[in-house]
């Protein structure tokens, strides 16, 4: 759910790995991000509408990933997938680290790109500093 840069890339990878993938996005022009070799289904619709989720066959899905721009949309859709459609494996992107912590405590599988990204940058920066210090000392 959500065919932005992350959603489109993830869908393309999963498709290339041989999985049966459906991409859902509220804006049909978002599917332009998918490469021509993408073999999965594209479905334009509102993913926090349970009729739409039923129509794309969510009940038969083994996994559901919510990566729209809206934290709250992702949170709501993931909870619907989990509680209404019984999807076993769900992943929910939440930019806001505080909200991410709350929903992790409530039992959702969540990821906050804000924290992951900041941590990655900090690690790289630390490494550069260590190298710089080494050069200064050496």
């Amino acid at each position: 759910m959500g065919c932005g840069r992350v959603g489109a890339t993830l869908a393309t990878w999963l498709d290339a790995d041989g999985h049966d993938v459906t991409v859902l996005d509220i804006r049909p022009d978002a599917f332009k991000r998918l490469p021509p070799e993408f073999k999965g289904r594209r479905h334009a619709g509102n993913a926090i509408d349970q009729d739409v989720l039923a129509r794309v066959g969510l009940r038969q899905a083994d996994a559901f990933v919510a990566v729209t721009q809206g934290d709250n949309r992702n949170v709501m859709a993931t909870q619907m997938a989990k509680h209404l459609f019984g999807v076993r494996r769900t992943l929910c992107r939440i930019y806001d680290p505080i909200r991410e912590e709350i929903y992790r405590d409530l039992g959702l599988e969540t990821i906050s790109p804000t924290l992951v990204g900041a941590q990655l940058l900090k690690d790289l920066l630390d490494k550069q500093l260590v190298v710089a210090d080494g050069e200064a000392e050496g």
């Binding site: 509680h83 806001d96 909200r99 409530l106």
Partner: protein
């Protein structure tokens, strides 16, 4: 009571206004992201508006969710109202949360996720329509030549008193016969006296013209007075 209203659209604005005017003397705070709406509330209702995102923890701390007796989320987006209420409960242990929902089908999942009360204008209007108009009416399919007989179709509503009963038990008007039942999956059945009526069954019957109303009533009336709002 200390009541926090999230969303200062028309619903939030008038809700806050009514709450302020109530004789109980509630303390009311409105949270709204849009500066123009915050300005309007401040001008008309006084210094009761806080500009910010109602589901962001920083705004929530500032608004004092921790001492709120009730949080009412009435933005135009169901997902925002859900998250406001869930975070209010999980992080600030707010005793009572109320969410406005636009898609009536979201009621189930909101309840399942712990929201105390959901209010849907769509569902309220639908309930009103169901009460005012017999939408589960009787459709005339065919008039049989002579004898004043007709073939009609009636859809059995969810709450009809006939649901779960055998056809043999039903009190139907004189010279009315149930001839065919199509269930909600679209499977037709030729009924016998032991056939059980189910909700959403389409019942095709032969009846006398003057018995139409009585037949419709027999197949569609609720067992108890319809509770509006479900």
């Amino acid at each position: 009571m200390y009541i926090i209203v999230v969303g200062a659209g028309k619903v939030g604005y008038y809700l806050a206004k009514e709450l302020l005017e109530a004789p109980e003397g509630h303390e009311v705070l409105i949270i709204e992201l849009d500066a123009a709406k915050v300005e309007r509330v401040t001008q008309e209702l006084g210094d009761i508006a806080l500009r910010g995102d109602g589901c962001e923890a920083a705004t929530m701390e500032k608004a004092g969710y921790g001492r709120a007796d009730m949080v009412i989320a009435v933005t135009g987006d169901d997902e925002d109202n859900l998250v406001v209420c869930q975070v209010a409960k999980a992080k600030f242990s707010v005793p009572r949360t109320v969410a406005r929902i636009n898609n009536p089908k979201n009621e189930t999942i909101f309840k399942q996720l712990g929201i105390d009360t959901t209010v849907s204008a769509t569902a309220a209007i639908l309930a009103q329509i169901e009460q005012e108009l017999p939408i589960h009416g009787l459709i005339q399919l065919l008039s049989l030549k002579g004898g004043g007989l007709e073939i009609v179709e009636v859809k059995v509503p969810q709450r009809a008193s006939v649901v779960g009963k055998r056809i043999g038990e039903l009190l139907l008007p004189q010279q009315s016969l149930i001839t065919l039942i199509v269930d909600s999956d679209g499977t037709p059945r030729v009924p016998s006296n032991d056939t059980v009526i189910r909700a959403e069954d389409q019942v095709v019957a032969v009846t006398r013209r003057e018995s139409e109303d009585a037949l419709r009533a027999a197949l569609t009336n609720s067992s108890s007075p319809a509770a509006p709002g479900r």
